[in-house]
């Protein structure tokens, strides 16, 4: 469908005839234009703007804010110097009280080279640099490289090369592929050292050997230690050979959790037909905390495994919510299922050992086309069972805790998993002139939290598996978003070029299903943040044309945690000038 502003020459003739007659009437186009104007933020004088706003360069903008906003701006140049990859720059946090003018000076980037070697020879490794200044509650934009090129083509002096922001602090993490070398990390300031060389021959790593009694025959177990707090690996990985393995620990590791993981159980290349979904492993992954060893740092440690549990079949059916069956669209013919356990049932001799296990399955329409049935092999235990309907379905995700065990030691049959109805976020978006705003994007971003909403009695839903959703407002400015139970940040993005800022309603808790949560979104005069982005070096300025600026508001939670949530974005022009429109306030809840 191609839009053409004037598709019909008769329309022109009609207008001319009308003018000749001296008639004053509004054509359909004129009415449309008028409605479109009411959906925009535009002004000629302060009197065109409401209270607390003034007219600035054709836009009504908010004057003084009732409460200041804590804002962080991130600048993303279109490209780096010399065509290199673009590096996002997180600017300092600022408190904004009113519409204002502000320039951002960006740090230049510097090329950092280095070596990852053992006794002078390059080794295979992944090197990543995590910026220490990042947005609270958001994953930092890390920079990664590998030593692969150096290993294939010969390295010269450098085994890897990256560009970092000059003067910024980073945490460098090296993860070798070889089981002989543990991960290493250190902090550095970019540009302070031109070359960072690491030689494992000179690194004081601790080695420990583990003798494991009772390991299953004919299976390979891999040993590795992890940080119990962060979950990061803190040792190399080694296979258990003749019941023994030696691993190398990163320097300074005192407290760890030892993991024993079985390699894939069977030939996954074979596509033999099976009547029950099979996981790739048939043994649980075992973990044991170091404090359960008498001497956690001893050179030799012995542990005994309990008898390994065998897999059972878990069979049952999935039922759609009634809303899915009454609609026009046919329900899907298969649904993906995920089963995750961090507590499989182990022998009483397991002691401090815990076992985890996970499996995937597909619930498919049975031969009669009446029911979705599933069968999956797993190890008995306490599971998170998740069934995921399509996002556009009127049914919500099924996510509940289930104790799965087989009374006969072979199968657990007859499970019924009922997809619940989704809750609905319902509302409409209006301009200050009370015009309905069509084409606004409504994003419900799932926070993936276990806590938040209060569920109805008897509702055992696991909240952290809720899914993000989005839609747009219709011609009447109305929207309807089906959502799972859980917590969301909801962002309302008016059409670009409308002159309005995004609206943010954070920490929206949805605890009741099959319920419509109604609201009305009134767009208001935005806060304007104008200025330029610049480099100290004028020659680099051209790389800032088209630079992306993202603004985040920092929300403080009652427990002291902070979270940065997007509230606006814009692009800089060829001179690096920008105009960011931000909401004058953000709201908690729906």
């Amino acid at each position: 469908m191609t839009r053409c502003a004037w598709t019909h020459r008769w329309a022109v003739l009609w207008g001319l005839l009308a003018a000749a007659q001296g008639c004053a009437f509004e054509s359909a186009d004129a009415l449309e234009d008028s409605a479109e104007l009411q959906q925009r933020n535009a002004c000629e004088a302060d009197s065109d703007c409401g209270e607390g706003a003034s007219c600035f360069e054709g836009l009504c903008v908010a004057d003084e804010l009732e409460a200041p906003l804590e804002v962080i701006v991130e600048v993303v140049p279109e490209r780096g110097p010399g065509g290199s990859d673009s590096l996002p720059v997180v600017m300092g946090r600022m408190e904004i009280h009113a519409s204002t003018v502000m320039d951002f000076e960006l740090p230049e980037s510097v090329q950092l080279q280095g070596q990852i070697r053992a006794d002078g020879e390059p080794i295979a490794a992944e090197v990543s640099f995590v910026p220490l200044r990042s947005m609270p509650g958001r994953a930092p934009a890390l920079v990664s490289a590998t030593t692969a090129d150096a290993l294939q083509e010969g390295s010269g002096d450098a085994d890897y090369s990256v560009r970092l922001l000059t003067g910024r602090d980073y945490r460098m993490v090296v993860r070798p592929s070889s089981p002989q070398y543990p991960p290493l990390s250190r902090e550095l300031e970019a540009g302070a050292e031109p070359m960072i060389a690491i030689d494992y021959g000179e690194v004081a790593t601790r080695r420990q050997s583990f003798r494991v009694e009772g390991a299953p025959q004919g299976r390979t177990l891999i040993l590795r230690a992890f940080d119990p707090q962060t979950g990061e690996p803190v040792s190399s990985a080694a296979p258990l050979l003749d019941g023994q393995a030696t691993i190398a620990f990163s320097p300074g590791v005192l407290d760890y959790e030892l993991e024993l993981r079985a390699e894939e159980a069977y030939d996954t290349f074979a596509d033999a037909a099976v009547d029950c979904d099979r996981p790739a492993r048939t043994l649980p992954t075992l973990r044991i905390p170091s404090d359960s060893f008498e001497e956690p740092l001893a050179e030799h440690i012995q542990l005994t495994l309990p008898a390994m549990p065998t897999t059972i079949r878990y069979e049952g059916s999935v039922e759609f919510c009634p809303e899915a069956l009454g609609g026009e669209a046919a329900p899907p013919t298969d649904l993906p299922m995920t089963l995750r356990s961090s507590e499989v049932l182990l022998d009483a001799a397991a002691g401090a050992l815990t076992g985890s296990f996970s499996a995937n399955a597909t619930a498919s329409l049975d031969d009669g086309g009446q029911q979705l049935r599933f069968c999956v092999e797993l190890i008995a235990g306490q599971y998170e069972v998740i069934v995921t309907p399509p996002q556009s379905s009127p049914c919500a995700i099924f996510a509940e805790q289930r104790l799965i065990k087989a009374p006969d030691g072979k199968a657990s049959r007859g499970a019924l998993l009922q997809l619940p109805a989704a809750a609905q976020l319902v509302g409409s978006v209006h301009s200050p002139e009370m015009a309905m705003v069509a084409g606004a994007v409504i994003e419900a971003n799932a926070l993936g939290r276990s806590e938040g909403p209060t569920l109805e009695e008897g509702d055992a839903t696991l909240l952290r598996f809720n899914r993000s959703q989005q839609t747009t407002t219709d011609e009447e400015g109305a929207f309807r978003v089906p959502v799972d139970l859980g917590s969301y940040d909801v962002t309302i993005k008016p059409p670009e070029g409308s002159g309005f800022a995004w609206r943010l309603q954070h920490d929206v808790h949805i605890g009741a299903r099959a319920t419509e949560f109604m609201t009305r979104i009134d767009l208001v005069s935005p806060l304007s943040l104008r200025g330029h982005v610049r480099y100290p070096e004028p020659l680099l300025q051209e790389t800032l044309a088209g630079a992306l600026l993202r603004a985040y508001v920092v929300i403080q939670h009652p427990d002291g945690r902070e979270r940065a949530i997007p509230i606006g974005k814009t692009t800089a022009d060829e001179e690096g000038a920008f105009l960011l429109l931000l909401p004058p306030a953000v709201r908690a809840g729906w």
Binding site: A20, R224, A446
Partner: protein
């Protein structure tokens, strides 16, 4: 009605006879582009980790830009995740209203349920202004019509290979082999160009 107007006495003074022609805007297909700081470039292969004991994430978000010269044209995006056992899964439609800008933001959010542990996945995104009736609940949701358009070539396309696992440094070799095998199984059934893959 128009004839009556033309013939009315009050309008006898002036009549335009020039044949005015207005140039029709050509319909340029949309193009899917990376955002400047993407960590998942279009066509790339990357890892996600939803099944390790320490993983807390439940969604994968990918941001792209959709460039369309027809800036007022309403577009639709559709995405799906295929695996070796789900080759024509349901797709997710997303509206991309034309609001006058050349490059439109699009965010794809894939739930953990779409990823199978230790397997290869192909995320496919198509964008068009002429899908087979996107608002028709039947035809607009038929997985087999995922990339069917009314107008030939009116389609923007992007795809990614996604491996589920702990990453190159910590995924054991047997699992990497299984991953590559499941990638091959998908690739045998897709028409688009192949990507060199080394998990």
């Amino acid at each position: 009605m128009l004839s009556a107007l033309l013939l009315s006495p009050g309008l006898a003074g002036c009549l335009i006879t020039e044949d005015l022609r207005f140039e029709e805007e050509s319909d340029v297909p949309p193009v899917v582009l990376d955002v400047a700081d993407t960590r998942t470039p279009i066509g790339s292969s990357f890892w996600v980790d939803f099944y390790s004991d320490t993983s807390t994430s439940t969604e994968l978000k990918i941001d792209v830009l959709v460039r369309d010269e027809n800036v007022e044209q309403d577009l639709w995006a559709r995405w799906r995740v295929t695996t070796k056992t789900r080759m024509t899964p349901d797709f997710q439609p997303l509206p991309l209203p034309g609001d006058g800008v050349l490059k439109r933001d699009l965010q794809i959010t894939v739930s953990q349920g779409d990823f199978r542990e230790g397997e290869c996945h192909r995320l496919e995104l198509v964008v068009s202004g002429s899908f087979l009736d996107p608002e028709d609940p039947q035809r607009g949701k038929d997985p087999n019509l995922f990339d069917y358009t009314i107008k030939a070539d009116d389609l923007g396309y992007a795809s990614w290979w996604i491996w589920e696992g702990t990453g190159a440094g910590t995924t054991e070799d047997s699992k990497k082999a299984a991953l590559l095998a499941s990638c091959d199984a998908i690739e045998d059934l897709v028409l688009s160009g192949s990507t060199e893959m080394q998990p």
